[in-house]
């Protein structure tokens, strides 16, 4: 459901002419494989064993190597039939695999072309054969001049290559751009098929086969097979361009090698301003071909509306049968990307974000849409790319094995759409350790492995890296925009859930990337980035994943061709990760400790089940809590178990008497640990923490959730980027107190269900961890979270859409009519829910109401804050946001 149109409105097809008098210029065509090996030699990689991933490096240097850990492998094998991504225990998007994947797609593509436009198919074939992944310019000559290895795998590989012309001649290539408009032919009175055909009529080049060697024999001409320019027609495009001279030989048109035999056909395939060519389409399905059939609509609207309303088109909606489809547009120069998505899955509100993100991902990977779509050998990669794209949006369950609860589509739409990465705060000492390890790596001091050791210029400069643990970002040494680029890539290829759900045996990814901010020259004015190429190296081990951005050129030695991953750098990252692995226990401990602020479960506010049931369901759902449940049952103080889960207070309505719940806190705190007085003024059903605390004080072995409570207050969660100025003004003691009372909601009861806090400047966001949410299972709570995310889509859209136009002052605005609602600072929605399957006929179903509120903050740092809490206490979201961001040390 996606095409990339090429419109030739002002495209100038390049003409490649040749002058036989000049010196030879030879291009390195097969640099791919060579460069890989050369990088090894240059780095003096002298291990005996080759790395496992070595064979998987593709010709263009890219690598995607994934090896699951042993336990996971077995499990994966069992699920292999259902799995989409994991075809074997070694998942490799290597060249071979890519071919397998796309074999069907390519035949389908060819099939569709065959039925439609045979001429185009032919053109595509010719195009495909002659394209090279790099060093395109001037390369055509070289490729003809010697026996090249078979071109990189593409859908067109099956076409047998033409006989190789071994005659190497000394000649110079030049490339001339000529503006051609086939439409003019129609208006010109001269009949088309004169002697010169299109070559003369369209281009203005006179070629007389007879003149070549004084021979008139057609056969001889064919043998010669050269399109020598014998003359130029006045006022023709060829003469206007000024670079085509009589005596030149026309070699190729738009990378298509031409001969007297095919020149007419090739020229006839040059699309005019109104003709379009589908550069790429995915998938081949009924709906997609239906949309393809009406592509004229998209092109017409795109052209016309800009003149009518003064802005280019961003979306349109149409009914395909009974299904509403939203179509998003992205125009890049003369090409148009059109993405159709079912309205059921992607509301119009989020369409622009979704399209914007996919475009950015493509740009990160390929530099521009043009280079992504215009190279035929990209087709298999793009097929894979868009397969993932559509599955994540439309059939997310197919990307996960087994049958977990249906993924929250709104949740992923909202969270993935945020210009931020999910962040996990760590205790300061661990955080420092992590940062130190990362910094050590980034200093590129590889000892005897480093280039310095051998007096060589460095291959790469490490721009920075970021570290994920189980899909959470735990350290980042990258500028925000680079971080977002990297994260978009990881998100797109589902790398983050991979590390959280399965233990990765080994993951090595290497590819060239085009960092968006550097490409746009964003940074500070007057400061220009040194030119260089950038490479992304992702290495995953077990639950850790490190993404490293490397720069070649600039300070480091320039990259030639398409270098593959360098073993030394990969090994250094691996070593870093191995070093970090020692921290895994600490990470797990951090994840097991329900972090501040405490959360409540929606189900606790509805009298749906008896306490015992609830306890059991809780226990069965979470290993941590099952331990707790056991502790409660075994506890001699029976009243505690009861009050913990709030049987008395929670039975009737959410509006519990404050005294009841209030009495619980001090008593609990007092009996639990005198060392932390006043720790729980919040008498919430946050059983996990409280029991955890008690276990600690009883001297339990420190496993599971133990120790969490009393360590928490001392965690200061420093943030490497922003040290709150306010914090400096506080004494340690005050700070500590602040953390002690980190309950977000006011009142005596904890009414907080969920939250998302985004730090706009750093590009990170914080939300309760998956584990925390899982511990709060229940029947209503997952619905509530889905609803929260769905509502956040709307709230964020309100924040975004009503932003004032840049440079528009308040005074001007008030005078303009139709200005919309104006910038939205805060927006809240109150929801009501009822328990499902309410069977009691006598009583009406109990209801629970809760708020979802979004707030945009500009001070002290730009933030967006989304929160969901029970309706019993009126809250001031600004204060909550402040409390939260301060408490989390952001």
């Amino acid at each position: 459901m996606r095409w990339f149109y090429n419109r030739m409105a002002s495209v100038s097809p390049g003409l490649c002419s040749e002058n036989t008098l000049s010196t030879a210029q030879k291009a390195k065509e097969d640099g791919d494989t060579e460069s890989t090996s050369s990088s090894f030699s240059s780095s003096d990689y002298n291990y005996d064993l080759e790395p496992e991933w070595l064979d998987d490096i593709q010709k263009n240097g890219e690598l995607f190597y994934l090896e699951l850990s042993e336990g996971e492998e077995e499990a994966a094998l069992a699920r292999v039939a259902a799995s989409q991504c994991l075809s074997t225990n070694h998942v490799r998007f290597s060249e071979k695999e890519a071919e397998v994947i796309t074999e069907q797609a390519s035949t389908q593509r060819r099939g569709s072309r065959r039925t439609g436009e045979p001429a185009l198919k032919k053109l595509a074939r010719i195009l495909g054969r002659k394209r090279r992944p790099s060093q395109r310019k001037g390369g055509k000559d070289g490729s003809r001049g010697k026996a090249t290895p078979s071109p990189p795998a593409s859908i067109l590989k099956t076409q047998p290559g033409q006989q190789q012309d071994v005659a190497v001649q000394r000649r110079r290539l030049k490339e001339a751009c000529v503006y051609l408009n086939p439409k003019r032919l129609a208006s010109s009175p001269t009949p088309l098929c004169e002697r010169g055909g299109l070559l003369e009529a369209l281009l203005g080049v006179v070629h007389r086969p007879a003149w070549t060697g004084g021979q008139t024999d057609r056969g001889a001409v064919r043998q010669d097979g050269r399109l020598t320019v014998h003359g130029l027609i006045p006022n023709s495009p060829a003469i206007k361009c000024g670079q085509i001279l009589i005596g030149d030989v026309l070699l190729a048109v738009d990378d298509v090698d031409v001969s007297p035999e095919n020149i007419e056909r090739v020229l006839s395939c040059i699309p005019g301003p109104t003709q379009e060519e589908i550069l790429y389409q995915y998938p081949v399905s009924e709906a997609s071909s239906q949309l393809k059939g009406v592509r004229g609509i998209f092109l017409t609207l795109c052209d016309m509306l800009e003149n009518v309303t003064g802005g280019h088109i961003i979306s349109s909606s149409l009914l395909l049968g009974k299904h509403l489809v939203h179509v998003g547009y992205w125009k890049e120069r003369n090409n148009l990307l059109v993405v159709g998505l079912p309205a059921q899955r992607v509301p119009l509100l989020s369409l622009q974000t979704v399209v914007g993100d996919v475009v950015r991902t493509l740009k990160v990977m390929y530099g521009s849409l043009n280079s992504a779509f215009c190279k035929p050998d990209h087709a298999p990669r793009l097929d894979h790319f868009f397969c993932l794209f559509f599955q994540q949006l439309i059939q997310p369950w197919r990307l996960r094995e087994g049958s977990p609860p249906p993924p929250d589509v709104s949740g992923s739409l909202f969270l993935d759409g945020l210009p931020a990465v999910r962040w996990l705060t760590l205790p300061p000492e661990i955080k420092m350790e992590v940062d130190t390890v990362l910094s050590d790596f980034e200093s590129s001091d590889f000892g005897e492995m480093s280039e310095d050791f051998f007096g060589l210029r460095r291959l790469y400069v490490i721009l920075g890296s970021c570290l994920f643990y189980k899909s959470y970002l735990i350290a980042n040494h990258l500028p925000k925009e680079d971080l977002l680029d990297v994260c978009l890539y990881c998100q797109h290829f589902c790398l983050l859930p991979l590390a959280s759900e399965q233990r990765v045996g080994q993951l090595v990814i290497w590819r060239e990337v085009f960092l968006q901010q550097r490409a746009s020259g964003g940074l500070a004015p007057g400061f220009s980035q040194p030119p260089g190429r950038h490479f992304l190296l992702i290495v995953g081990l077990r639950h850790f994943m490190q993404c490293v951005l490397l720069e070649a050129g600039g300070c480091a030695s320039p990259a030639l061709g398409s270098p593959g991953p360098d073993c030394v750098y990969v090994d250094q990252v691996k070593a870093t990760l191995l070093q970090l692995n020692a921290l895994e226990a600490a990470m797990e401990e951090r994840l097991n400790v329900p972090s501040a602020p405490c959360l409540s479960c929606a189900d606790w506010f509805l009298p749906a089940a008896t306490t015992r049931d609830r306890l059991d369901s809780l226990a069965s759902s979470s290993p941590v809590l099952s331990k707790l449940a056991g502790a409660i049952r075994g506890s001699p103080s029976g009243h505690r178990g009861r009050s913990l889960f709030g049987e008395k207070s929670r039975k009737s309505s959410p509006q519990r008497s404050l005294s009841d719940s209030g009495s619980e806190g001090p008593m609990d705190a007092g009996s639990g640990s005198p060392a932390a007085p006043g720790l729980s003024p919040h008498s919430t059903p946050d059983s996990g923490r409280r029991i955890g605390g008690r276990q600690d004080s009883l001297g339990s072995d420190g496993s599971g959730g133990s120790g969490g409570l009393f360590k928490m207050p001392r965690m200061k969660h420093p943030n490497p980027f922003y040290l709150g100025t306010l914090k400096k003004t506080l004494t340690d003691r005050e700070t500590e107190e602040m953390y002690n009372t980190i309950k977000l909601t006011s009142g005596t009861e904890n009414t907080l269900f969920h939250y998302v806090l985004m730090e706009t400047v750093q590009g990170i966001f914080i939300a309760p961890t998956h584990r925390e949410v899982a511990q709060l299972s229940g029947s209503i709570h997952p619905q509530l979270i889905h609803n929260f995310h769905h509502c956040c889509l709307s709230i964020r859209a309100a924040f975004q859409q009503n932003l004032p136009a840049r440079g528009c002052r308040a005074a001007d605005r008030s005078q303009r009519s139709g200005w919309g609602l104006g910038p939205v600072k805060e927006h809240g929605v109150l929801f009501q829910c009822k328990p499902e399957n309410w069977t009691d006929q006598r009583k009406p179903a109990p209801t629970m109401t809760y708020w979802v509120i979004g707030r945009m903050l500009l001070e002290p740092v730009p933030q967006e804050f989304y929160v969901c809490f029970h309706d019993s206490v009126p809250e001031v979201p600004v204060e909550m946001a402040f409390r939260l961001s301060f408490g989390l040390g952001l």
Binding site: V294, G296, N307, S315, S316
Partner: protein, 432 residues
């Protein structure tokens, strides 16, 4: 750029052949090539099983297509540039506009002439009689009238409704009609029971029609109309009489009585005793609510909809010398904000009552925003919005929808209390 910022142009063509019937709105008409292309893309898509319904451009421009009864194609093009209005909101507005324009064409010409399209030149000529009404719909300058949007009749709550109700019942009966209605400033004060049984959209259109007559200043008129839902092919007579400037009464009737007979015999008999009561209604003016209903001074504007009777009251209260108001919100901006907030809430959270417009397949073509509404797992009840200019609060109950605009100085946590209290005050005072 062919369309000025914020303006809307309406195009009407025959659905089968694409012959332009008329264009209204915007100062400058779009070039014919553009009109042709806009129609062409929709027709082309329709033939290929891909029915185009809307599209959006950067900066808030929007195009909405709709075909009515396979015969008439209406296209609304709005010229964005407003840098603000959310896409969904603009779209709901334009969808409503197209429905209203179609109903308006049926109201004046009857469905037969529009569906059968025998003589296109004649139809073009006949359609001119709708222009006045269509232009009113396009302008949307008429402050205080939201019925076109809400499809609920704009009403005015009189201080003393009983004698007026008796009078309108008696007057209608004497005119051999079951449909009678009294308007003040184009808002319904009282009407016969049968009048309220008309489709809400018809009631809204009749209000608009009476407003145009009233504005023309004529004392009375006799006008044939078709009811888009109730009687799209058989015309009725609409008799309208001006009782006072700004006060109109009308009845829908058959061949009798004649305008002259009704004017001379009935109007004076039923209405002259009530002149003072009518004057008191005029005094209520744009507030729509009698003085007995207290409104807090920090309330800027409100819209209250009764979901059962499909009536609404709305008002803007601007006290320029208000101590708390440092904002220089104009009255028209207040109306605009109220309208925008209504559409915002309706298109995202609250349900809008289904209007009986068009065939079932047309109702599947409902606005996309409804898909968003269905995505909620729990029912939205209330919502609020804090912007630079004001704070807005909306709430929905079984019976009412209530939208309130308040000064920015009102604390956010108090919005809910103010809104519920104001709603309770109005309901208890007027039984609306």
């Amino acid at each position: 750029m062919m369309l000025p910022d914020g303006s809307t142009q309406l195009l009407c063509l025959t659905a089968s052949s694409g012959v332009p019937l008329f264009t209204r709105g915007a100062s400058k008409q779009l070039p014919f090539s553009v009109i042709g292309s806009l129609n062409g893309v929709h027709m082309f898509g329709g033939g290929q099983g891909a029915l185009l319904s809307s599209c959006e451009t950067e900066g808030g421009g929007k195009v909405v297509w709709k075909v009515f009864h396979d015969s008439v194609m209406l296209i609304a093009v709005s010229g964005g540039g407003s840098s603000g209005a959310c896409s969904g909101e603009e779209e709901s507005r334009l969808q409503r506009l197209l429905e209203n324009v179609w109903s308006c064409m049926v109201l004046v010409l009857g469905q037969d002439e529009l569906v059968n399209l025998r003589n296109i030149e004649r139809l073009k000529r006949d359609l001119r009689s709708c222009f006045c009404l269509i232009d009113k719909l396009l302008e949307e300058k008429h402050q205080g009238v939201l019925g076109n949007l809400t499809h609920c009749a704009d009403s005015l709550v009189p201080p003393n409704p009983t004698p007026l109700q008796e009078a309108v019942d008696g007057f209608a009966q004497a005119a051999d009609s079951e449909f009678g209605c009294l308007f003040v400033h184009g808002r319904i004060v009282v009407a016969t029971e049968k009048w309220w049984r008309l489709a809400p959209q018809e009631v809204v259109l009749l209000c608009a029609l009476v407003r145009t007559f009233s504005a023309s200043g004529s004392a009375s008129c006799d006008y044939p109309i078709f009811l888009p839902q109730g009687s799209p092919t058989v015309a009725h007579r609409l008799l309208r009489f001006q009782l006072l400037p700004g006060v109109d009464v009308c009845v829908l009737c058959g061949p009798t009585p004649s305008l002259q007979k009704a004017e001379t015999e009935l109007v004076g008999r039923f209405w002259s005793p009530l002149i003072e009561t009518l004057r008191s209604c005029l005094a209520v003016g744009e507030r729509c609510l009698p003085g007995s209903v207290p409104l807090r001074p920090d309330v800027l504007a409100l819209l209250l909809i009764n979901r059962e009777t499909r009536r609404s009251v709305s008002c803007v209260q601007i006290s320029s010398h208000h101590p708390l108001s440092d904002s220089s919100l104009s009255k028209s901006r207040c109306w605009e904000l109220l309208k925008l907030f209504y559409i915002f809430s309706i298109s995202r959270y609250f349900t809008q009552e289904e209007t009986l417009c068009g065939s079932p397949e047309e109702s599947t073509q409902r606005s996309h925003t409804e898909d968003f509404l269905h995505g909620f797992s729990h029912q939205p009840q209330q919502c609020y919005l804090v912007t630079e200019e004001c704070k807005s609060y909306g709430l929905q109950t079984q019976q009412h929808q209530f939208f309130l605009l308040m000064l920015p100085s009102v604390p956010t946590f108090a919005l809910r209390t103010v809104a519920t209290q104001t709603l309770a005050d109005i309901i208890s005072a007027t039984a609306f």
